[in-house]
Symmetry: C2
Subunit: 355 residues, 2 copies
């Protein structure tokens, strides 16, 4: 049995739950390594994966005796089979943050149990990465780092944001990525002032600022990185803003390690922002792994302590509507005594030449 399932079973016991219905495909991938639609049923006797005829052959090919997971085609499951699974077991957990209201009602009917909210149990467990998960995340970061190094040397005169994004993504896909982590942001000039800009047909010009936000997906795991670079001259206000953002990012990284109180660190950053009269336009970071955004969130509202072997992004940014924006972001590993950036592209102020 994967350590991830063992751990979940222990936690369910601790909560007084005799079983759980796992519905989120991300949770299923995490617990079983399977890429298939279905529901994973954790009950005292077994781990049962109910899938459908499209997946059953490949699921059976991927499971071994060590998986300790029984797979079955939902066509083989009768109304009575579902009712028998949890019979007499009382409260059963479900994923209230994934299951729709319609499916909640369907499960009640199918399993004839009392469904209990598990308050992000699996999401919390996923915060602390297993060694193999960290290896996959490192590999994803390596791929996106190389793609960025390639792209900033290959921006030709006349290229548009869209073309640059395409080349960047194409490089990742041709160099080991299974997919892109999310649609890349390449935002130039005034477009950079929108934190969530979509690449446009705007042509890169001399004296532009370009904000990149991109990542690679490797065996299900995501990297996430932002860099802001300059073409030609750098106006003083942009240089000043860049130094501010870089300094804020470094302060967070310097303070992050196992046990850090996230709220306190982020509150200090918000104070820095308000002293400069700069609006905080988005969070300072987020967990990353099988999802591009996952627990923990980095904000000043929730009391949250950093855990060893968790992976988070650190991404302060400043945005001046209609003018420009700057963001610097790394994917970082939290260790006992420090925070290590897994994305390793240089952050000193960078001017690129159009070729």
């Amino acid at each position: 049995m994967k350590p991830e399932i063992k751990q979940l079973r222990d936690k369910l016991k601790g909560l007084g739950l005799n079983g759980m219905i796992v519905s989120n495909p991300i949770s299923i991938k995490y617990l079983t390594d399977l890429d298939a639609e279905g529901i994973l049923i954790i009950d005292p006797k077994e781990n049962l994966f109910v899938t459908d005829s499209r997946y059953i052959e490949s699921v059976n090919n991927n499971l071994t005796i060590d998986s300790e997971i029984v797979a079955c085609d939902r066509k083989e499951m009768s109304k009575y089979d579902y009712e028998a699974i949890f019979e007499g077991l009382g409260d059963i957990g479900f994923e209230e943050n994934y299951v729709t209201y319609a499916n909640y009602k369907k499960y009640l009917e199918m399993f004839q149990v009392n469904l209990v909210e598990t308050e992000g149990l699996i999401e919390s467990q996923r915060i602390v990465k297993e060694p193999e998960e960290i290896e996959k995340l490192k590999k994803a970061c390596e791929i996106s780092d190389k793609a960025f190094e390639y792209i900033i040397k290959n921006i030709k005169k006349g290229m548009t944001e869209k073309q640059i994004a395409f080349e960047l993504e194409n490089y990742m896909l041709s160099n080991g990525a299974d997919g892109i982590a999310f649609p890349s942001i390449v935002a130039s000039g005034e477009n950079s002032s929108m934190p969530h800009a979509v690449p446009t047909d705007r042509v890169i010009k001399e004296n532009d600022i370009i904000l990149f936000d991109f990542g690679a997906k490797y065996q299900g795991y995501h990297s996430d990185c932002s860099r802001t670079v300059f073409v030609g001259n750098i106006p003083d206000e942009q240089r000043k803003a860049y130094d501010f953002v870089l300094d804020e990012q470094q302060k967070i990284i310097d303070n992050f390690k196992e046990g850090t109180n996230i709220k306190a660190i982020i509150r200090n950053r918000e104070t820095d922002y308000s002293l400069e009269n700069i609006e905080v336009m988005h969070s300072f970071g987020h967990g990353v792994g099988l999802e591009i955004h996952e627990a923990p969130t980095l904000n000043s509202k929730v009391d949250n302590v950093l855990k060893k072997n968790s992976i988070v992004t650190v991404e302060p940014g400043v945005y001046f509507a209609g003018k420009f924006g700057i963001r610097i972001e790394d994917t970082c590993l939290i260790e006992k005594n420090q925070c290590i950036t897994l994305t390793k592209i240089g952050k000193t102020i960078t001017t690129i030449n159009l070729i």
Copy 2:
């Protein structure tokens, strides 16, 4: 106001609902053309889109006076603002097939209303495509058709399934697609017997069968197409199976038009399958549009009548575990008197040469 919102407002009135909370980003894209996270609130006075600071600038740039949509940053919304929206309005619709159980409870608290299930109201409306939607779907089909024509002329000796899938997707992305419709299936030899195979490192060999299932995404709309081709000799049992599948597909296409009872047509196909002792491994098709799988489903269980200007796939397949599989699929437009395939790649039995 987009005709899609007007139509929804009329339908809500017909159901005796005074408003609706729209949460699914696909519904929001459909109703507003906006690509942004948030919730769209339809109330008697206005259409209100509550988004966050990451999107507010780009949302405002994309809305015009004709949109008749007010956008606001959720930071500006107080507890009382939310409560005031539907005050005294009674039952309000929500998307029970999208909203999680956790968010259902949150909405109850936020809006202080009685939430009523709308039974796939927007999904049903989306079945009948507007003219601009059909144009976008046609363009997506054109792109994937060209990519397939390219790839079958460019399979080199020694290429793996993964490499072929990459080249196919790369061609679509370089020739007008905004994205791929879904991860492509390129399944060769015995791998083709898994309806949902994932491309592997298996090298294409002489006398292989290759099953392709792929599509392009264009302005949010998806094409979906499957073809099965042969390298070198075609064993008799594979030729016979191919003819069977092609014949079954043609029977469906010949029978599909406005008003067709889907159940009856599919039931006839299931009879053909059982006469040949072949298992039906997946549905014979599905609606396609802003989602790769959307309403209607094509099966023999639900009484469903085809509507004019709906777009569906027609995709019979046969699979012999550990041996081979064959699927032929087109994206089709339902018209008053006929069904037109929008994917137009030839379907006569095809042998390709490795180059």
